[in-house]
Symmetry: C2
Subunit: 131 residues, 2 copies
């Protein structure tokens, strides 16, 4: 664990809000002004491989990082791109039956709900009223 890796890890935890690599970079920079973006990327990828953090994918091509290792699901706003944890009474089964006709060895399951966050929904409502 180098100084840089510890700070990247702590920053993911501190930010909490499913930050992107660049958002993490900008924050790490405040504590470690000379850090390079490639160092942030490399350490994020090591932390993911070690199972210390998780990745979340949605619409668009940026990866979001999550310090919360508990079994939980995400929703992304299709307007502003924000990623949030989601608590719904809809239960998503977390264990996969590995039997499938295609003969794949199944290891993981990417799930992200897509929708509109309350802030964006409200902003759109106001804009409609104004028009």
């Amino acid at each position: 664990m180098t100084k840089q890796r510890v700070i990247v890890f702590n920053t993911v935890k501190a930010l909490g809000s499913h930050p992107t690599a660049f958002e993490i970079f900008e924050r790490v920079r405040k504590e470690l002004p000379g850090v390079s973006l490639s160092t942030v990327y490399r350490n994020l990828s090591i932390l993911v491989d070690q199972g210390d953090i998780l990745t979340v994918r949605g619409i668009g091509q940026e990866v979001h990082y999550d310090h919360n290792l508990h079994d939980h699901y995400h929703v992304q706003c299709r307007i502003c791109g924000k990623v949030s944890d989601i608590h719904t009474d809809f239960i998503i089964p977390s264990c996969i039956n590995p039997n499938n006709e295609e003969g794949y060895i199944i290891e993981d399951m990417l799930i992200t709900l897509i929708g509109v966050c309350p802030e964006c929904a409200n902003r759109m409502k106001v804009e409609d009223e104004d028009a």
Copy 2:
């Protein structure tokens, strides 16, 4: 429907195998040698907006396109990146309860299983035996 759009649409159907934009471009090119990549991208995005085709996302940053509009799920091989339809006795609920504490309006659900395809599993087994 321009000539280009029809050919892009038919190519997605003809390829069948969840092709990427670039794979579609390469195939469209054979029928329409002067077509530009931007035309393929624009028409794919129009076809998606019109609901004529679907997008599939997995690991990595490329989008895959699917002509099959039926409710079905996908698995991607983490080794070779191939995307396949998956038939498993594990039932994924397709209807989402919109109630959630976060107040999101939920519109869609991205689901992709991740694993190893039979070909890659076999190749890895052979490589292990050789070593």
